[in-house]
């Protein structure tokens, strides 16, 4: 990423963002504390552990799994996960026959309430272009080698549909509790660039 110092006369984003915030606060359109709240919420509280809880519950509770696949938004609300960008969560399930992976080719739509803010690579134009063109190769480079017989389906998120992957439960995890299972689930597995391992 290019990151060069700005000449002194160039309005750096920092100052322009500050100026916009000041104007909106002055007009009482937003409050500084509200922005602080949002930032802290998404940086501190909302993250992939939300999605991991959803996955673990789906693994142990077949009825929940059914509701989740039928209506991701409502099922996630049962666990208290909703809010901005959570209105359009669509859950797709990995199977031995089909592996699913998510991208947003247009911008970076992402299920925030379940996964927090997107990681850098998700926003990277190279990921966005290559996962569509050569998913198997790119996944391999990212450390995920899938059996030839497993089909790969790429889901392109949009403002209307934010895809979330329900990974396969790893073998030999019968004795684990829901909480213990949740700890196994990584963000990358819920985007589909990894699988869950016990």
């Amino acid at each position: 990423m290019t990151d060069h110092p700005h000449p002194d006369d160039y309005p750096s984003p920092q100052l322009r963002v500050e100026a916009l915030e000041a104007l909106l606060v002055e007009r009482e359109l937003v409050k500084t504390e509200m922005l602080d709240g949002f930032i802290s919420r998404y940086v501190n509280d909302v993250g992939p552990m939300n999605g991991a809880k959803v996955v673990a519950k789906a693994w142990v509770d077949p009825e929940f799994r059914k509701r989740l696949l039928e209506n991701g938004v409502e099922a996630c609300k049962e666990l208290g996960f909703g809010g901005p960008q959570g209105e359009h969560i669509v859950v797709v399930e990995n199977t031995p026959e089909q592996h699913n992976v998510v991208v947003c080719t247009l911008c970076s739509c992402y299920p925030w309430p379940l996964l927090g803010l997107p990681p850098d690579w998700y926003k990277d134009p190279a990921y966005r272009a290559r996962i569509v063109r050569e998913p198997r190769k790119l996944l391999g480079e990212m450390g995920l080698d899938l059996p030839e017989k497993t089909k790969i389906r790429v889901w392109d998120s949009s403002a209307e549909n934010r895809y979330f992957i329900l990974p396969s439960r790893p073998e030999n995890t019968d004795g684990l509790s829901e909480e213990e299972l949740a700890l196994l689930v990584s963000r990358d597995a819920m985007v589909g660039v990894a699988v869950v391992k016990a």
Partner: protein, 121 residues
């Protein structure tokens, strides 16, 4: 930053606050994020409006750059989208924003905000 890194990106869903990686590289990125999130929450505009504006801002960049070779700064595009939306909705005017930004540029160093003083890199 070291603490976040030392707690590791390898452990699954390790640090929620890092999401495995640092979410915001600079403070202005988080402010730009927060402004957009707040305006949506307050119903000033819809997420879909913002999304459309972000797509347009990225597409503007891609008209003149090869984004694979010269990747854009995501939050810079985010802010461009936000700016165009708030100006489009007449919440603030471009002139006001330009003028206040210029005023801020003239602030002496050591001013009370703890924004980045570093032109050191």
């Amino acid at each position: 930053m070291d603490i976040v890194e030392s707690l590791g990106t390898d452990s699954p869903t390790s640090l929620p606050r890092s999401n495995g990686e640092l979410v915001f590289k600079e403070p202005w990125e988080s402010r730009a994020f927060g402004i957009a999130a707040a305006l949506v929450e307050l119903g000033v505009f819809e997420w879909s409006d913002f999304q459309a504006s972000l797509i347009a801002a990225i597409s503007d960049y891609e008209k003149t750059h090869d984004s694979i070779k010269e990747p854009y700064n995501y939050y810079e595009r985010w802010f461009a989208a936000l700016e165009s939306l708030v100006i489009g909705k007449s919440l603030v005017s471009k002139q006001e924003l330009d003028s206040l930004t210029t005023d801020f540029c003239k602030r002496p160093h050591g001013h009370d905000h703890d924004h980045d003083h570093g032109h050191s890199h």
